[in-house]
């Protein structure tokens, strides 16, 4: 995939966006030439404050990409440095001026600790991979995870740009305590995404439209290769998105296709389209698929995560959806606006009554252990071991949420 670029004949190209409505982005137009060095023109909304910084960054990026002769014209709408590098690199690559070189942002965040396989994944906030304005503060809103999306929210013609932008984002942006997820494109396009993002060590890769376990093993192999090439030894988890009738039928095989699969999730828009029904608020049409998915996930010892709730204005509907989800065995869902996060967290939190009961059960169990009793009882009721186990899980989860 890289040789295509190096062999291409240089041509004018552009990348990024500008205009009155655009924020935190920039537009780069590049015109390759044979001689004459670099000629850069800059118009920037923040020119007075960062004009010379943008110009020197531009020169630096071009130099690191090996571009010596070109006219570059930049319209900047207050983009941050990691976006500036990404847009210039995209334009240069589109112009056929650079092969494999990357222009990573100067600033690198301290890589957060690897995430445990079974960490809380109640909420994951989707961020369109071509909209840098959403990235910078996304970590502030308290979601358990953010997803940098390269798939459905990115236009076909912008896949290359989004890939580079997301890579730079992982490199430079601190998402706080959020797990850093990337949704790649469907295979085989998704493999190119992996080449770009894996070196920046995201915590988890969402793989869309998974129907067969082979898709998981293919992705897993690719990630392994990239990891060993770059000597990365931290885990990168996989969350397959099942969004078709076939996928649902193969859910268990998918869940067990790799030890790196930590959760299964479902895409209801595509699923309902696939089975030819309308998606409704009551969700009776996907009841089977969702319970089947939960069962497959639990059988595989991993988490089951629900789809997204599309109506940002309907927080009451979201709350109800979330509570229902939790009752089915799901442990979280996606969100498309930060206002959904606290509602989802509330919906997936065990109630105080449940927590109190679980605490009593755990206490009774511990007391029985101490006294060497084989049978645990609470009041007049005998408590079976699975009940104790469930109570322990619930208490652990409630504690984790308290901290989260």
């Amino acid at each position: 995939m890289s040789s295509v670029n190096t062999l291409a004949i240089p041509r004018p190209a552009e990348a990024g966006h500008w205009g009155k409505e655009v924020r935190s982005d920039l537009h780069v137009a590049i015109e390759p030439r044979d001689r004459g060095g670099l000629e850069i023109t800059l118009e920037s909304r923040v020119g007075i404050y960062y004009g010379s910084s943008i110009l020197s960054q531009t020169r630096q990026v071009l130099e690191s990409l090996g571009v010596k002769h070109a006219r570059i014209s930049i319209h900047d709408e207050g983009a941050l440095p990691f976006v500036i590098s990404a847009r210039i690199e995209t334009a240069v690559k589109r112009a056929g001026l650079s092969g494999n070189q990357k222009a990573l942002p100067e600033e690198r965040i301290a890589l957060p600790k690897p995430t445990p396989r079974d960490r809380l994944r109640r909420s994951r906030l989707y961020l369109p991979g071509s909209e840098p304005k959403y990235f910078i503060n996304a970590g502030l809103h308290g979601a358990d995870a953010i997803i940098l999306d390269l798939e459905d929210s990115v236009h076909h013609g912008e896949k290359d740009a989004a890939r580079i932008l997301v890579r730079n984002t992982l490199h430079a942006i601190d998402f706080g305590s959020c797990e850093r997820m990337v949704r790649i494109n469907q295979l085989p396009l998704g493999l190119q995404d992996l080449t770009e993002v894996i070196p920046e060590q995201p915590d988890l890769i969402l793989i869309p439209k998974v129907e067969r376990p082979e898709q998981i093993s293919q992705t897993d192999r690719m990630i392994d290769e990239l990891k060993s090439r770059d000597r990365i030894d931290r885990p990168i988890w996989l969350m397959p998105i099942v969004e078709s009738a076939v996928g649902i039928e193969n859910a268990f095989a998918i869940a067990t296709a790799s030890p790196n699969v930590c959760a299964l999730t479902i895409g209801l828009e595509d699923y309902t389209a696939d089975i030819g029904v309308a998606k409704t608020l009551e969700a009776r049409e996907s009841q089977y698929a969702r319970t089947r998915l939960v069962n497959a996930a639990k059988a595989a010892g991993i988490q089951a995560i629900d789809s997204v709730f599309g109506d940002v204005g309907d927080l009451a509907g979201l709350q109800q959806w979330g509570e229902n989800s939790r009752a089915l065995g799901f442990e979280g869902m996606g969100c498309i606006h930060p206002s959904q996060i606290p509602v989802i967290h509330q919906a997936f939190a065990p109630s105080q009554i449940e927590v109190d009961k679980a605490l009593k059960i755990v206490a009774a169990f511990e007391e029985a252990q101490q006294r060497g009793l084989a049978v645990v009882s609470l009041g007049s009721k005998m408590i079976d071991p699975p009940v104790v186990e469930r109570a322990r899980k619930l208490v652990a989860r409630a504690k984790a949420m308290e901290k989260a």
Partner: protein, 520 residues
């Protein structure tokens, strides 16, 4: 402006002109340090024998009214801005003045709006000499580019009243747009097709100007009830087709911000009031009509309900959100300075607990106290804040005029002053080393709430103590600043300001707080 302006350093360390438009100035002496003596100014004595016995003060048009008022070259003509960007009366008056051939007027609006940009042509043709009042958009650029003949003077709403009362500004003719009026000159803002709510900004003009003209598009039979402007102060009444564009006078509905970052700031501010114990029975607050302020009111309302807390009064700019507090019994009163939306206008016109106030009751330095210092907490915006909590609200970071001061400076007298601001805008950090234009001294600013955390002024140990144990992200202002600079790729370069003063920022007491310098 050809002669060199002498500059002096004021108590805030800012370099300010000692003469403005031919009048000697007192540089800012520090908060509460300036104590003027003497007597307040007063309008000339008049006699009711000079006014029609039947109370009909109507004349056919503004031109006639201005002629009858004896408008001459170099006089001061004033307007209020309750019709906001929808106002037609100010330009009507200035254009009428142009028709009768008057030159070199000082235009003294309580604020100007972008729709009044035709005032630029009137400055170019010599009708207007200069403007003392807020300028933004095209008028602001005209001033900051150094094209205005005199110096701009920016005053707070309270400062405008102060300047009128102590004679710093003498209004020759006040032209008051009135949504409803009678032929005697009684006028009201809360009724009529161009209703705008309160008319408080025009009160000083109506009582201190030599001559007063009321312009209305809704003439009613005497008496116009209620009257906010008393006809006893009015010389002439002019009836016109329309005083303004209703769509731009009030917004149909005011919208809460949908930006997650701004919602987060709003929620922080509400939680701060709760956790610091400011939100308690009988408390009071003031918040404007910006997106963050509206969202703040919405969050606070939920918390007040949860904790069964009721406010004694809230201060407007009123909007639907304050009106809902009143209707739900969460506040006893709205004390309203200006009315921003249709719900506000409807409420002030019909609910006796929704009371119109003026800069006299709320803000005036020469009053025997004012309401501003009785408010427990106020939520304001700013373009810049520095590490000493000094804030700028009038210029962009590059020195161009952006906003008027409005009631902003006056509100700093509240028990707890909170600036609710994003930590950066378009890569430009909001928290910086030193503000471009000082509008509010840091000793009066207690809290800066951003989406990345809340900074409390170290002078307010009581507030720092009050929120101990709260889950709010309380952080030193320096730490937030450093984080934002890291995100933005370093400190922004300082813009180069010119060395010629084009306008001054007055403090609430009439002293000169800072200077606006010419920029290209």
């Amino acid at each position: 402006m050809s002669e060199r302006t002498e500059l002096a350093q004021n108590a805030a360390g800012r370099s300010v002109p000692t003469m403005v438009n031919g009048k000697p100035q007192i540089p800012f002496l520090g908060v509460g340090q300036y104590q003027p003596r003497g007597r307040k100014t007063a309008p000339p004595i008049c006699s009711s024998r000079d006014y029609p016995e039947n109370g009909d003060k109507r004349v056919t048009n503004l031109e006639t009214a201005l002629r009858n008022c004896g408008l001459r070259n170099g006089m001061v003509i004033s307007n209020h801005h309750h019709l906001r960007d929808g106002d037609r009366v100010a330009l009507m008056a200035l254009e009428a003045a142009a028709k009768i051939g008057v030159k070199d007027l000082m235009w003294f609006p309580s604020a100007s709006f972008p729709s009044q940009k035709a005032a630029i042509e009137l400055m170019q043709s010599g009708v207007i000499h200069h403007i003392e009042g807020s300028m933004n958009g095209p008028l602001g650029d005209y001033c900051t580019q150094g094209k205005m003949r005199g110096m701009g003077v920016l005053r707070s709403h309270g400062g405008r009243w102060q300047a009128i009362q102590d004679g710093e500004v003498h209004i020759d003719v006040a032209v008051i747009a009135a949504p409803t009026a009678d032929a005697f000159g009684n006028a009201d803002g809360s009724h009529g097709k161009s209703a705008c709510g309160s008319l408080g900004f025009a009160l000083a003009d109506s009582t201190y100007a030599d001559r007063v003209i009321v312009v209305t598009d809704n003439l009613v039979l005497f008496p116009c009830v209620p009257w906010q402007i008393q006809g006893n102060n009015v010389d002439f009444v002019v009836e016109v087709e329309s005083i303004g564009d209703p769509a731009k006078i009030v917004s149909g509905t005011t919208q809460i911000t949908r930006s997650p970052d701004r919602l987060r700031i709003a929620e922080f501010v509400a939680r701060f009031l709760r956790d610091a114990g400011i939100m308690r029975n009988g408390f009071s607050f003031q918040a404007g009509a910006g997106g963050i302020a509206l969202a703040f009111v919405d969050y606070l309302r939920r918390m007040m309900k949860e904790d069964s807390v009721k406010a004694r009064f809230v201060r407007g700019g009123s909007t639907k959100f304050l009106v809902e507090l009143l209707q739900e019994g969460l506040t006893d009163y709205i004390l309203d300075g200006q009315t921003f939306d249709l719900d506000g206008v409807k409420s002030i016109g019909s609910d006796p607990r929704h009371v119109a106030t003026s800069p006299f009751t709320s803000y005036n330095y020469h009053g025997k106290g004012n309401f501003a210092s009785l408010v427990d907490a106020v939520v304001l915006g700013a373009t810049e804040v520095d590490v000493n909590f000094n804030a700028n609200v009038v210029t962009h970071s590059d020195g161009r005029l952006l906003h008027g001061i409005g009631g902003w400076q006056n509100c700093l007298a509240a028990g707890c002053t909170i600036l609710a601001v994003p930590s950066f805008r378009d890569r430009i950090p909001v928290i910086i080393d030193e503000v471009t234009t000082l509008t509010g001294p840091g000793e009066l600013i207690d809290v800066v709430a951003t989406e990345r955390g809340i900074a409390i002024n170290p002078r307010r140990q009581d507030l720092l103590d009050a929120v101990k144990g709260s889950s709010l992200p309380i952080r030193p202002i320096q730490e937030i600043k450093a984080e934002v600079e890291r995100i933005c790729g370093g400190k922004p370069a300082r813009p180069k300001l010119g060395d010629r003063p084009v306008a001054v920022v007055k403090w609430v007491d009439g002293t000169v707080l800072d200077t606006i310098w010419q920029c290209a």
